[in-house]
Amino acid sequence: MSEAAPHLVVRSVSKRYGPTTVLDHIDLTIRRGELVTLLGPSGCGKTTLLRAIAGLAQPDTGKVELAGRDITHVPPHKRNVGVVFQSYALFPHLTVAGNIAFGLKVRGAARREIDAAVERALSLVKLGHLAGRRISALSGGQQQRVALARAIAVEPDVLLFDEALSALDRKLREEMQVELRRLLQDVKATAIFVTHDQDEALTMSDRVAVMNKGRIEQLAEPRELYLRPASLFALNFVGLSTRIAGTVLAAGNGKVEVETKVGRLSALGNFQAGSPVIVAARPEQFRIGEQSEANTAAGRVRSVVFQGSRTLVEVDAGAGESLLAELSGRDGAIPVVHDEIRLSWPVTETFAFPMEMQA
C-alpha cells in the first residue's frame, strides 16, 4: 500500500518537568490513515506526548516530523494538527457553526468555502439542525461532536484526542467509540487517541501504544498486544491473566522451565537459570482436564462468574496462587464452587516475564 509511508514520526522525544522525566526518549511512527491509541496509567506522559506533537509543549530533545516536514520548532498554529481536548474547549462566545468555521476563518478561507466546510462537518457529526445553537445550550455528547467537527473542518494532517470521550456516560461513550472510528476511517484521518480505558483502546485503534513512566512499552495491533504482551506491564494493563511467581530451573531454545508453588511449568522466554520470573497465561487458554504440550495445575474452585457467552472460573491453586480460566461451556460442564478440578493450558501460550518489571 502506498499509504504505508510514515506520516507522523516522533524521534527520541524527551521532556522533563523539574526533576521528573515525563517523556523518556519516545519513538513513535504512524502511517497515514492509521488510528493509534496511547494507553497507560495516569501520569505516564500521554497528554505531554500529545502536547509535544501539537506544539503546545516543547520537547527538551528529539524531533517531530509530520507529512514529511520537520515540525519540531514550528509553532502550533502552523502545524496543521487538530486537537480535541478532554474539556472540548469550545468557544462559548461563538455558535456551533461559528466554532466549526473558526479554523477556516483564521486561515482566510473564502466565505463560500467556509460555509460548505461547516455544512459538511456538521452533517458528518449529525448536528446539522444545531448550527445556530449556543455552546452552553448543548448536551455533553453534542459538545463532543462539535469539538470533533471543529477539529476535522480544517482537514488537519493528524488529529489528536486527549481522553475526548471520557466525559461521556458509559453507553454514549461506547456508541461514540464505534461511530468515531467509522467516521475517521471515512475521512481517512490519521489520529492518535489518549485513553486509560483498555476497551476504548482495543475498539478504536489499528495499533495501541502501551505507555508506562514516560516510555512506550509496546506498540502493537490490539490482537497482538493481547496475545503477545511484551512486558508484564502490558499484560496487566490489557485484559485478564493468570500470573504465578517462580524461579527458572532450566532454559534453552526460547523456552524456560520454571519451578513454582503450583508445580513445574514451561513457558516461552529467554532467561538464565535462577532468574526470578512471573509465568502468565490468558484465561481463555485454560481447559478442564489434560491436554498435550500443556502446563497443568489443580485446585479448588473459588468463584464462578457467569458472563453470558463465557464463564470466568477462579481456582485456588494453594500456596496463595490462583488460576483464572475462561470456559465457554461447550467443551464440558462448568464446575461449581468448591469443586476440585485440574486445569491445563498450552505451553505455547504461556509467557515468562522478569519479576522486577512488575508494575
Binding site: L56, P76, H77, V81, P92, V106, R150, A151
Partner: protein, 287 residues
C-alpha cells in the same frame, strides 16, 4: 382511600403562601431601596423642574442651552472618557500579569491594588499634587538630573487630571477584568492555536471577546466614578476645568441655586445610567 376523596385544589393555597412568603422576604429590602435611593432621586428630579411659579424647564435650558454649561457637560464627559480609556489601557495587560503571577508575588500585587482603596480619595489626589507641583518630586528630580532647567508645568493641566484620575480609579478597572482573566481556561488559547490562529489573531477573536464582560464591568465602574468625580478635578486642576460635579457643588454651596444643581445632578445621573445600561446590554448579547 379517604385522601383521594379530598377536594383537589389543596396545592393552590400553598403556592400562594410561598409567593406571599417570598414577597415578605423581599419587602424590607425593597422598602429600604425605595426610601434611601429612589425617593431622593424623585425629589431631585422634582426640585430641578419645579420653582416658586410651578413647573419649569429653565434649569435645563440654562444647562444645555448656554455654551458655558455645554462646555461643563463636555468637560465631564471628556474626563470620564479619557480616564476610562487610560485606565483600561493600563489595566488590561496588568490584569493578565496579575493572573499569571504566582504565590507571594500575586499576593503583593493584589495588596498594592486593594490597599489604596482604604485611603481617602482626598489623600490620593493630594499625593498627586505633591508629586506634580512646580517644586514637587517629579520636577525636582528632573532638575537635579539636569534633564530640565526650569520646572515643567504639570499640576493644573488636563494631563495631570486624567493621569491622576486614572490612577485613583485603576483598581475598579483591574479587578473586574482580573476576575475574568483568572478564570479563563488556557485551553481556549491552545484550541485557537491548533486551529491555525496566530497569537494575535487568537487574542482578537477569542481572548478579547471572552474577557469582554470584565472590560464592560470595569468601564462602567470607572466611567461612572470619573464622570462624577468631584475631589479629583478640584484638587488636580481646579477652577479652570469646571465639571458637572463641581458645578453642582457651586450651585448648592455658593450660588444657592438648588434647582440648577438638581438639574445638573439629573443630567450627570442620566449620563452614568446611559453608560451602565449600555454596558449591561453589551455584556448580555453575544455577537
Amino acid at each position: 382511600m379517604t385522601e383521594a376523596a379530598l377536594p383537589a385544589p389543596v396545592a393552590a393555597p400553598s403556592v400562594d403562601r410561598e409567593r406571599l412568603a417570598a414577597i415578605g422576604f423581599v419587602l424590607p429590602s425593597f422598602v429600604i431601596i425605595a426610601g434611601v435611593f429612589a425617593l431622593p432621586l424623585v425629589l431631585l428630579l422634582g426640585v430641578s423642574i419645579v420653582d416658586a411659579n410651578g413647573l419649569t424647564f429653565a434649569n435645563y435650558k440654562r444647562l444645555l442651552g448656554t455654551p458655558y454649561y455645554l462646555g461643563v457637560v463636555w468637560n465631564s464627559l471628556r474626563l470620564g472618557l479619557l480616564t476610562t480609556l487610560i485606565a483600561f489601557l493600563i489595566s488590561y495587560p496588568a490584569a493578565f500579569a496579575l493572573a499569571r503571577a504566582r504565590g507571594a508575588l500575586r499576593s503583593v500585587l493584589l495588596a498594592t491594588l486593594f490597599l489604596p482603596l482604604a485611603a481617602s480619595v482626598i489623600v490620593k489626589a493630594f499625593a498627586w499634587t505633591i508629586l506634580l507641583r512646580s517644586d514637587g518630586i517629579v520636577n525636582e528630580t528632573l532638575m537635579a538630573l539636569g534633564i530640565i532647567e526650569d520646572p515643567i508645568r504639570m499640576i493644573f493641566t488636563e494631563t495631570a487630571l486624567i493621569v491622576g484620575a486614572a490612577n485613583i480609579f485603576l483598581p475598579f478597572m483591574i479587578l473586574p477584568i482580573y476576575a475574568i482573566v483568572a478564570q479563563l481556561d488556557r485551553r481556549y488559547a491552545e484550541a485557537a492555536a491548533t486551529l491555525g490562529a496566530s497569537p494575535i489573531v487568537a487574542f482578537f477573536r477569542v481572548i478579547l471577546p471572552l474577557t469582554l464582560p470584565g472590560i464592560i464591568a470595569g468601564v462602567a465602574l470607572v466611567f461612572s466614578l470619573s464622570v462624577s468625580a468631584y475631589v479629583v478635578p478640584t484638587l488636580l486642576i481646579g477652577e479652570k476645568y469646571p465639571t458637572l460635579a463641581t458645578a453642582i457643588a457651586k450651585a448648592y454651596l455658593l450660588a444657592r441655586e438648588p434647582g440648577f444643581g438638581a438639574a445638573a445632578g439629573v443630567v450627570l445621573l442620566a449620563i452614568a445610567i446611559a453608560v451602565v445600561a449600555l454596558s449591561a446590554r453589551l455584556s448580555r448579547e453575544p455577537k
